[in-house]
């Protein structure tokens, strides 16, 4: 890779404080880094602030009436703290929002085309790329996205995100409401493409065990602060305190349960 000489994180979040208009103070001094092509997880219980990180990083804060009070988000050294979503996307960061973010009363193909408008015409890929990745989408390309199964909708969201050829994908609660076998299928597809194209992935998940299998390293979030971080192995071996944050009695044994 050309960037090997200068060791630089692609995404860098420094001391981030985010509060919602409702008064909820969701993040306090969160710092996170994701290197180019790296797979990083954010795990934690409900209400830990994981989704708020995803929103802040992808420029969706304003849509949810959240404001960055302090801190800095940068992409490849550029300050993007207050950028709207469309600018962040143009800078190579695409999000798979919680709840999949597909538009149910549009066809599968129109959902895919929607994202292409954000890409300059000469670099625009063909929609069919998505069908190569998940053939079921090609079979159902004229169906309304709302009529797809949950798993197919999530495939649509992943394929749509990859169509942009992003440098970083931020996936929020990808596994929510899906059978483990489907999640594995979707993640395998994502992992293969990401590895192929050097795309970094920030995986935000409540399902710790599944998440730790997919990522290289992870941050543990609790009540808006990072309480632990390390490689997947380190976190699996971590003591009771970390496990308790994650709502799992013993991470090293939780693995066996799956």
């Amino acid at each position: 890779m050309a960037g090997d000489v200068v060791e630089q994180q692609f995404l860098s979040v420094r001391d981030l404080d985010v509060a919602y208009a409702s008064g909820a103070h969701a993040l306090r001094g969160v710092s996170i880094e994701v290197g180019a092509g790296e797979r990083v997880g954010i795990v934690g219980a409900n209400g830990a602030g994981k989704t708020t990180v995803a929103r802040a990083v992808t420029g969706l804060s304003a849509v949810f009436r959240a404001t960055v009070r302090q801190g800095r988000i940068s992409l490849a050294g550029k300050d993007t703290t207050r950028w709207p979503a469309w600018r962040v996307l143009a800078a190579g960061v695409v999000t798979i929002p919680e709840g999949r973010g597909v538009i149910s009363n549009m066809t599968v193909e129109d959902n895919l085309r929607l994202v292409l408008a954000a890409i300059p015409r000469r670099r625009r890929p063909a929609v069919t790329e998505a069908y190569t990745m998940y053939p079921v989408l090609g079979e159902r390309r004229r169906a309304m996205a709302g009529l797809l199964s949950g798993g197919e909708q999530q495939m649509l969201a992943v394929a749509r995100a990859l169509l942009v050829r992003p440098r970083l994908i931020v996936a929020d609660e990808l596994s929510l409401g899906l059978a483990p076998r489907i999640v594995t299928e979707i993640l395998d597809g994502l992992a293969a493409r990401a590895a192929n194209e050097g795309t970094a992935v920030l995986l935000i998940e409540q399902a710790v065990v599944m998440s730790l299998r997919f990522v290289d390293r992870a941050y543990v979030l609790d009540q808006g602060t990072v309480v632990a971080q390390g490689t997947s192995d380190e976190l699996r071996q971590a003591g009771d305190t970390t496990a308790r944050y994650l709502g799992v009695a013993d991470l090293s044994r939780a693995e066996e349960l799956l």
Binding site: T58, P84, A85, L89, G101, D110, L114, V115
Partner: protein, 342 residues
């Protein structure tokens, strides 16, 4: 086979037969529009002019409300902004209709942008209330403008002449308005087939999903507000020329609701729906008058105006409750039955 239930305004290049059918329908529609005043009596030419003009105003409103999901009662206000900008340009600078319409469109775009600003924060009924406030503010401003510029009676428009040609006759007026309506239809069709159209639909469906797809929700909303208001304002100039005058009393909330009724009855988010709704709502008073004449005007028919209002109300309630996809919904299901049966 999975059944395709794509909305008709989202063009599907993989279905060339649908494209041919659509072109055929368009050609047929143009033929009917052109032939109509040559066949029917002057009275029905006037009715047709009213319907076509109503379509030219309802269609942009439908783009805003039906496609982009932005509820508005501001149409009458945009019409008066257009009419008075047009009048000012026409009288002060002695400009011809096309120029007056362009300037009115620019004014409409600006006012639409401002009236659309609350839509970045408000939705549904709250947004509707803010457009209601905008209606009263703009009509009040128009009244002040009218008093200072044109006098208490409002602006009196001369017979329409473009490039020295007299177009003020019933038939020529009909053709001018029909040509404008066709242009509006063409613009909206093209927008809804483009990436802009998908962005508009996405913003209506889900702000977050749209934003996640790299669509600037704010820009898209304000763009639609400006565009639809520009078209309505341009139509306002034509309407004023057609009526011969523009006076604030004409631009009531009732008028605004009439156009909302058209798109509700015709079908939200559909150009064909705008046309059907415009024809339908234009024909209600005509039919009531005919009934009243035919049956000697006894009983309820002695009050045709009140009867119209009641009929409007009942029709809107009936459509909202029983046929939310409007008249175009009947056409669609009939077409589907024809295709599957034959």
């Amino acid at each position: 086979m999975t059944q395709s239930i794509a909305p008709p305004h989202l063009a599907d290049p993989a279905q060339p037969r649908a494209g041919v059918r659509r072109t055929g329908l368009a050609v047929l529609a143009v033929a009917i529009v052109v032939a109509l005043p040559l066949v029917v009596s002057p009275y029905w030419t006037t009715v047709a002019t009213n319907a076509v003009l109503a379509f030219a105003i309802a269609a942009p409103l439908n783009l805003l409300t039906g496609n982009a999901g932005q509820f508005s009662l501001g149409n009458a206000a945009f019409l008066v902004v257009g009419a008075y900008t047009g009048a000012f340009v026409t009288f002060t600078f002695d400009m011809e209709l096309p120029i007056a319409m362009l300037v009115a469109a620019a004014a409409g775009a600006l006012v639409g942008f401002i009236v659309g600003l609350p839509s970045l924060r408000l939705r549904g009924a709250y947004l509707l209330m803010s457009t209601l406030a905008a209606h009263y503010i703009l009509v009040f401003a128009a009244l002040k403008f009218q008093t200072s510029q044109f006098g208490a009676a409002g602006a009196i428009f001369p017979p329409l002449r473009v490039a020295g040609v007299d177009l003020s006759g019933d038939r020529s007026m009909y053709f001018v308005i029909a040509a404008f309506a066709a242009l509006i239809g063409l613009i909206i069709t093209n927008i809804m087939r483009s990436g802009h159209g998908r962005a508009i639909e996405a913003v209506k469906a889900r702000d977050v999903a749209a934003a996640a797809c790299g669509i600037s929700v704010a820009r898209t909303k304000l763009w639609v507000w400006s565009l639809s208001s520009a078209m309505i304002a341009a139509a306002g100039v034509l309407q004023a020329y057609y009526l011969g005058s523009a006076s604030v009393e004409f631009y009531t909330l009732n008028l605004a609701i009439t156009y909302v009724a058209m798109i509700l009855v015709g079908g939200l988010g559909s150009l064909g729906g705008s046309l059907l709704g415009a024809c339908f709502v234009t024909l209600v008073p005509v039919v009531v008058n005919h009934l009243s004449e035919a049956y000697g005007g006894g009983g309820v028919l002695a009050h045709p105006h009140e009867l119209q209002t009641v009929i409007y109300g009942l029709i809107i309630i009936a459509f909202v409750l029983l046929k939310p996809d409007g008249l175009i919904g009947f056409v669609r299901s009939a077409a589907r039955r024809l295709r599957n049966g034959g």
